[in-house]
């Protein structure tokens, strides 16, 4: 760990000895800090797993598929929040990705160069807005809008059609899975857009120029050169957004309707793991099965985020193709 170059001058020799002590100490501190971070994450996972263990033992794998959350009977199944977490996150991705792609395309290929920085910054600022603000904005602005203008006509028009109708049934609360997904989409939009823009910029100019030289339109260059070149990283960026959508708490809690029933309707209420933990953790008694079930859900959320992040990292790693 000490520096390898021998100090030629005599006066420096003694300094070198004391400084090698300094080097060892400094390196040890740096290493300790690294190990601390490892232990910290380990402790988080272990504390969630130990806390959730009674639930895993009591219900086994059935916990993942049981939609019953009944505090009176002391029966807990994680299916509703797990389903809510996955569905809201996936719907959010479905809504955000086309927009993010458009923004990234605009920022890398279409916008006049003086315009790129301010627009890019503005989009990035969207990512900086705290999630509680999204929740509040969603509750006071989007929810009434949905309840008044979007849901009633859709429910009236579609709910009597078989199969499809099931997706739009129920009273127009304005809250629910679809509204939560919409807010999540706005929140993850800047993340995905920024990642896409950054990876689009890694495409060597010479590739694009040769395609333009052949007479390709901008869209053809995008479709045939940029997207194939960056495909893997783009998916990585989308996964990064997915990871964020999965764990979002405050914005979702405000608008999802906080209900532990499985609902087929997109306008129906639901819960996500993060929102059920935020709501029900404070009242769950130490040692109770309910507390254990919430911690088990926390553990499951961590595992899901962990997997999504691991995939995203592998795909975004420089040189991954």
């Amino acid at each position: 760990m000490s520096h390898s170059l021998a100090s030629p001058a005599k006066p420096l020799a003694s300094a070198s000895r004391t400084s090698s002590v300094g080097d060892v100490v400094f390196a040890a501190i740096a290493k300790a800090a690294g190990v601390f971070v490892l232990l910290l994450l380990g402790a988080i996972i272990v504390s969630l797993f130990i806390g959730g263990w009674p639930t895993f033992r009591a219900f086994g794998m059935g916990f993942l598929f049981n939609a019953d959350w009944d505090p009176v009977q002391n029966v807990f199944g994680g299916a509703v929040p797990i389903y809510g977490t996955l569905v809201t996150a996936v719907l959010a991705i479905v809504m955000a990705v086309p927009l993010a792609f458009g923004i990234a395309f605009y920022l890398t290929e279409l916008a006049p160069s003086w315009f790129r920085r301010p627009v890019g910054t503005a989009i990035e600022l969207l990512a900086a807005v705290p999630s509680i603000i999204y929740g509040m904005w969603g509750f006071f602005m989007i929810v009434p809008f949905m309840a008044e203008w979007v849901q009633p006509p859709l429910i009236d028009a579609l709910s009597d059609i078989p199969v499809v109708g099931a997706l739009f049934k129920g009273p127009p609360f304005g809250t629910g899975i679809f509204t939560a997904s919409l807010i999540l989409a706005v929140m993850i939009l800047p993340f995905i857009a920024a990642t896409m823009r950054d990876v689009f910029q890694t495409v060597p100019a010479v590739y694009k120029e040769s395609a333009y030289g052949l007479g390709c339109t901008t869209w053809e260059v995008m479709r045939s050169i940029v997207i194939p070149y960056t495909r893997v990283s783009v998916v990585g960026g989308i996964m990064l957004g997915l990871g964020r959508a999965l764990g979002e708490t405050m914005a979702v809690t405000f608008v999802i309707g906080n209900t532990n029933r499985l609902s087929t309707s997109l306008f129906g209420p639901g819960n996500t793991i993060a929102s059920i933990v935020a709501l029900e953790f404070p009242e769950s008694q130490a040692g109770s099965l309910k507390l254990s079930s919430l911690l088990a859900l926390g553990f499951i959320l961590f595992v899901i985020s962990f997997i999504v992040l691991a995939i995203s990292r592998t795909l975004l790693r420089p040189g991954a193709k």
């Binding site: 300094g22 390196a27 740096a30 800090a33 690294g34 910290l40 509040m136 339109t217 901008t218 935020a278």
Partner: protein
């Protein structure tokens, strides 16, 4: 790829000019459609930001009185302010930053300077990335389990420490990235002067990377200043003026959460004021961070 130019003239050998013309027009048309859609997408993105800001100003600005900064939160109907929440947020953010930054910098130093190619280094880097995007509510749960429940109950210090866990990976990431940007020549110069490695890191590399690291710290501050979920189970909230770190402590995001969900008009109004303040603060920090970073980029 057809060899037609954008003007639609025939450039390739022996092609039916009419077909080529039609093809070209179709290609141009899809190009225009995609361009228009992209501009629309960008407009929608910007519109969301504008909509949020306009809402905040519209609903928050009217309640922005001077008593917001002089009075503590009060029961509904008594015209309270937010000073305890503002100060509570400042204190917990300060603790989070003060505890998280040095650890984060040391981890970043370890990753950039000591860990190259080692297994431990890769593990730490991966774990730090996991922490960076770990759901913040789980960090709150963790601190509740290890600090709040076994010890003395909800406290400002527990809130601050939960925020520190969020600060660490942000600072790790920027520190490592910035240290890697330091030119080798600079390190060599330091070593040639006989400086030990740790001195060259602290006095040369970290100093050279200071702007970048400061940016990272600012972004971390901006992030934790708006965090609600990790504080719910750690500092709980406090209706009164309290500076004791051992007691439950108020914070702007938690107060906004409580007030926004309430049905009292004056509380909702204060929630909008709080929302306006925190958003402006966080956005300002972000803009400052970007300005700081600009000369390097």
């Amino acid at each position: 790829m057809s060899a037609t130019t954008s003007e639609g003239e025939m450039a390739g050998p022996k092609r039916d000019p009419q077909v080529a013309d039609m093809l070209s027009r179709r290609r141009q048309r899809s190009n225009w459609i995609v361009k228009a859609l992209c501009i629309l997408a960008t407009t929608i993105g910007l519109a969301f930001l504008a909509l949020i800001l306009v809402t905040l100003f519209w609903l928050g600005f009217g309640g922005l009185q001077w008593t917001v900064f002089t009075e503590a939160t009060k029961p509904p109907g008594s015209h309270g302010g937010l000073i305890n929440a503002i100060v509570g947020s400042l204190i917990q953010t300060a603790i989070g930053t003060a505890v998280g930054t040095p650890i984060g910098i040391m981890v970043g130093v370890y990753l950039a300077e000591y860990s190259l190619g080692t297994r431990l280094g890769n593990a730490v880097r991966f774990v730090s990335d996991v922490l960076l995007s770990a759901p913040s509510i789980l960090i709150g749960l963790f601190i509740y389990q290890v600090l709040v429940n076994p010890f003395d109950g909800f406290s400002g210090i527990a809130g601050g420490l939960a925020l520190a866990v969020i600060v660490i990976p942000i600072v790790v990431r920027t520190t490592e990235d910035m240290l890697r940007l330091i030119p080798v020549a600079l390190r060599e110069a330091a070593v040639a002067l006989g400086a030990p490695k740790w001195k060259s890191i602290v006095l040369v590399c970290l100093r050279a990377a200071l702007d970048g690291i400061a940016t990272g710290v600012l972004l971390a501050v901006a992030r934790i200043a708006g965090e609600t979920a990790p504080l719910l189970f750690t500092s709980l909230g406090n209706l009164n003026w309290s500076l004791s770190l051992a007691q439950p402590m108020s914070s702007l995001p938690v107060t906004i959460y409580q007030y926004a969900g309430s049905a009292f008009e004056d509380w909702v109004q204060l929630a909008w004021v709080g929302a306006l303040l925190i958003t402006l603060g966080v956005l300002a920090l972000n803009i400052v961070a970007r300005v700081l970073l600009r000369p390097r980029a």
